[in-house]
Subunit: 361 residues, 2 copies
């Protein structure tokens, strides 16, 4: 039965990946033409113009309107927290989920600031939540296994967590979200994120591992050793991204990967948040490189490995504010810049409308 | 009479500068204390936390509320445009002022996006505007003199333009603006901005001069020669910032400098936009270094000299989006990040409120 379910999900994954189309040059050209008619020197809005063009090419509309913005924050626990890789106790994962639901966390404040909704998904928290409005209960397991001693998940669990991400992509599509963001919560989750980065790129662990939410030097050394051990014990196959995800990943990371794949298939632009979200994006891009065109890189985190992730994915971070919080906080701030870019396209006057002389071409 | 007026304005300038107080450590400490009680790892919101602390220290309130945001866009013409230093004809300055008033320019779209108002000031456009709602008519002159042949302004004109900035600071204060931004419009105005930068820092002209809104290689060479000539002919005194402003500056740059000085005196935080606005900020800081604490650096422009300006002022740009438009566009986007920082301070739950365990200190 488990095998049959796994086969069904693998089949759906192949189908979802195969629906992702390359972006069409004609939409970039149409957006460029529009931008060059607007009352500003050509190209003078820099990255805003690049964002606007790609947004147009993703949604295939030259005058897109972003009616709704939603951030999906996936929460899961990590067996590897037992190795002392985090400055916080594991209880903080469910405590923070309650905080999200009550509206007291940074993601609530920043999402509210940019007029985005927050959807919180329990995909693998080691705590039984009572049913609560605002919490989507889709627990695949009560946390992952300790990657320093064995695999994080079975392949089937990884696929099930990915399918939770698809369901959230369906959710975004059904609600006609014009822009979505990813977010994460999970004590210890920079450890599997660094492990995924090292596994997929072959970069040395000590070059891609950092302090997470704030461990000290001793803790950092322990974290590097833990990740090295995890890679040695599990020997994930870098040519099989699902294997990497299952062996050294996390449930929320799998959910984020599935969410990104689903959104790319539906042409819903996705803003990828910080280090953990970008680990999920790496898995998605490793499964199909076309995914990268549908992603906006929210920001460059303090985590030293984050820049390598963006290089792997091939997107330039919009913000660089020394954030290292996750939850979707960077995605929220970047969403506002993306929305501003789209408004420029729609709301600015053209040279002829405004009676302004054009400069030398 | 002119002399008497100049003396009166010089006296008021001294008074305004003398009211600017250093920020108090106790407010940074109080804000830090509050930030460390919030449900997030300490320091994990990076630059947002630095911004929030300084905002608190400027307004001297630990729970500040930004009720109103206003961007002041100063427009003026430049005699040096006759030297062919811009890709655009001089007529574009008044044309763009009309565009601002009608709401079709980039600044209207971006200010609207972040819920900021725009005030447009004719401080020196070479065009007679009919009275229009939304345009503040304070023309000091119909543009500056050609700095390649003589001074931009008399010292008295520079002081009058500065006093227009003070009046706008009064305007902001009276309207209880919690955050204001600077903006500029003036064909040819990267030329005096580079000249001010070279004059105040002694940096070679070719290191601080760039393409403005889009001149070609030939134009860039001409621009460098023009600025070198302007500095040679006028020999501005780097120890007398008013002399630099009058001889190689611009009316809108003087207005921005005065506005910044006025706001610093009133403890109104100012977001400084791009290359031209930052030239104005340099003059203000050169007159009193305490001004720098009241400024937020909106962004790092494409103009090569901009980074030297921020180094001189000693503030780190919030955004880096390859903008080169001016008008206050970068200030508008940065205002949203500053407002987000302040909301974090006010709206997030504390560890004890949310029942979340604190990490290792």
């Amino acid at each position: 039965m488990e095998d049959l379910k796994e086969m069904g999900l693998e089949k759906e994954l192949k189908e979802r990946l195969s629906t992702i189309q390359p972006l069409k040059k004609e939409f970039f050209d149409q957006a460029q033409k529009r931008l060059d008619q607007l009352t500003k020197p050509r190209g003078s809005l820099g990255q805003l113009e690049e964002i606007a063009k790609r947004y147009v090419a993703i949604v295939e509309e030259v005058h897109p309107l972003i009616r709704r913005k939603i951030i999906y924050t996936f929460a899961g626990d990590h067996g590897v927290a037992a190795e002392g890789v985090s400055a916080y106790p594991k209880d903080v994962t469910p405590q923070m989920v309650y905080n999200f639901i009550r509206g007291g966390a940074a993601i609530n404040v920043l999402a509210g600031h940019v007029n985005a909704e927050v959807v919180v998904i329990d995909i693998g928290v080691d705590h039984v939540f009572e049913p609560m409005e605002g919490l989507v209960g889709r627990k695949v397991a009560r946390g992952t296994g300790n990657i320093a001693r064995g695999p994080a998940m079975s392949r089937e669990q990884a696929l099930r967590a990915i399918s939770v991400g698809w369901e959230m992509a369906d959710h975004a599509k059904n609600r006609k979200a014009g822009l979505v963001g990813t977010g994460d919560m999970g004590i210890g989750n920079t450890t599997p994120s660094s492990a995924i980065l090292a596994a997929l790129t072959g970069l040395p662990v000590n070059q891609v591992t950092h302090r997470g939410t704030g461990i000290d030097d001793l803790g950092l050394g322990r974290k590097v050793q833990t990740i090295e051990k995890a890679l040695e014990i599990n020997s994930p196959n870098p040519r099989d991204p699902l294997d990497v995800l299952a062996k050294v990943g996390g449930l929320e990371i799998a959910g984020i990967a599935g969410f990104i794949i689903g959104c790319a298939g539906y042409r819903v632009p996705v803003v990828v948040d910080g280090f953990i979200s970008t680990a999920g994006a790496m898995i998605a891009v490793a499964l199909n490189t076309r995914v990268r065109d549908y992603l906006f890189a929210a920001h460059k985190s303090v985590e030293v490995g984050h820049q390598f992730m963006w290089e792997y994915i091939g997107q330039k971070p919009i913000l660089d504010l020394s954030l290292r919080l996750g939850e979707g906080t960077g995605a929220a701030l970047a969403m506002s810049v993306i929305e501003a870019s789209v408004k420029v396209l729609n709301e600015m006057a053209t040279f002829s409308e405004a009676g302004v002389s054009e400069g030398k071409k």
